[in-house]
Amino acid sequence: MMRNLVPILTVVATLFVLWYGAAIALNAPWARDQAARAGQELGFGALVVQTWTQDKPKLPAPHQVAAEIWKTTGKMVLAGRGFSKRSLFYHSWITFSATALGFLLGTALGVALAIGIVYNRTMDMSVMPWVIASQTIPILAIAPMIIVVLNAVGISGLLPKAMISMYLSFFPVVVGMVKGLRSPGAMQLDQMRTWNASASQTFWRLRLPSSMPYLFTSLKVGMAASLVGAIVGELPTGAVAGLGARLLAGSYYGQTIQIWSALIMAATLAAALVGIIGLIQRVTLKRMGMA
């Protein structure tokens, strides 16, 4: 335990030192400017305190972000308003629901396309270039169109955001699953042939189980992409709710502390979601004798 803890804490401590140092450097011009206008002399000690306590700093100090996060999470829970519209839990939940739905849709689409590519020669020759092309288009350009088009046919709310999530997350699943479904060797496929196994028997008993290590790796990438998609999807909707909305609102009003707290919340959410998949991966592959 100690052997792991020491290096991790060292890295974290270094990051904090750099962060506080950068906060001084970036916020100092504004502090000096203010002091000059008020006709005051600013000593180094006072400058440091000033740069770490501004309302709208260029770079907020860690403790400012931590205080903001606490104010919008734990403190609100203690006050019994844990799910109010000002709470980060509320916004995280909004983003999470779009992420989760988009991830499920993206995984389903990705697996379906991969099966098509592996079993159908026409799809094998034609689909992959389109799949790759789809990912070269900037999602920021597509997202507003998806929102507008779906809104025009009466679909709004969760689904348009989930679609954008899906758009980003199906790609790693297609690529990984095509490789995974093709991972059984010639010998294993010959063996199925000697038993005169049908295509579906070969799929369920050999190809699908063989693809599991590839699937889980893809799911981790896909989950992170889903979260990005959900956040991007929240931007053009007018910043009503969600972590993306908090980021946009924060940037409208120069609320850097709010932006950073939303960012850290998003990172925490991503880490938790990818961690859950990693856990399922470990348990599953261990049980399958493939870890």
Partner: protein
């Protein structure tokens, strides 16, 4: 060809088209295998012994000549699940137990659940792996894994067993033991076995018929009907009869290899 002929090949040829021109894997091969025979195919790499076995199993298609398995085409024989095939590697699924692996072909062929259980138990006993049903492949040694793969090929009702260098990757001591077990199994089950090998002692010890093959093009150099009795203790390998057959196999291999040995 009699009614007991399991495999009958006449002027069988198979040519692979490669970038370096055609490769004659098999050229005018004719052979009959009778019910209950233990036939070994021996020869250097590229002599077509594995290709011949794969043609019997309908995994390759001959470009000329005729072959029947159980009196029908290899494709029909395969569809009728007429043979069990043992590959060089055990090829057990790591996510299935030993029992689950043996059950796999039975599930695919649609055997009833109770029948599956009985068969798994019976073949595990046959290869002396009783008690390992619930173990996973990684918990077994290489030799035990290969025995499990033989059990898997024996689990369904196929009278023909095709074995492609099943013991090639195992060490000498394990191999001796498995050879003994295989002979015992062959006697008890009355199966017809076609066995591809690199090893002269293995071929002579196991077989009732030894097919010596030579490369470029792959063809049969010699067919030796073994005079050894069906009961063969391991020390039969020190008898003059055994050494005489081994000598003839070696001569056959050398003749076929004359130009580039």
């Amino acid at each position: 060809m009699t009614k007991d002929t399991v495999i009958s090949a006449t002027d069988l040829s198979l040519t692979f088209q490669t970038n370096d021109g055609p490769v004659h894997a098999l050229k005018d091969v004719s052979l009959n295998v009778e019910q209950g025979d233990f036939v070994s195919f021996i020869g250097p790499s590229g002599c077509g012994k594995t290709t011949f076995l794969r043609v019997m199993a309908d995994l390759e298609h001959p470009t000329a000549g005729q072959i029947t398995v159980n009196g029908v085409s290899p494709e029909d024989a395969r569809k009728a699940r007429a043979y069990g095939y043992v590959f060089q590697a055990a090829g057990l699924y790591p996510w299935r137990t030993i029992g689950g692996n043996i059950r796999l072909p039975l599930e695919i062929m649609g055997y009833a659940k109770s029948d599956q259980d009985a068969r798994v138990k019976a073949v595990l006993e046959l290869v002396e792996l009783s008690g390992f049903e619930k173990k996973f492949p990684w918990q077994l040694s290489g030799g035990m894994q290969q025995r499990a793969s033989i059990a898997r090929a024996l689990a369904f009702d196929a009278d023909l067993l095709l074995m492609d260098e099943p013991f090639g990757a195992l060490d000498e001591i394990v191999r001796d033991h498995l050879n003994e077990q295989l002979l015992d199994l062959w006697k008890r089950t009355q199966k017809t076995i076609c066995f591809v090998t690199h090893s002269i002692p293995e071929a002579v010890y196991l077989s009732t018929k030894i097919v010596v093959m030579s490369p470029r093009p792959g063809r049969i150099a010699d067919i030796i009907d073994s005079p050894l009795p069906r009961d063969r203790p391991l020390d039969i390998r020190d008898t003059p009869e055994f050494l005489e057959i081994a000598h003839r196999v070696r001569e056959g291999l050398r003749a076929g290899h004359g130009d580039d040995a």
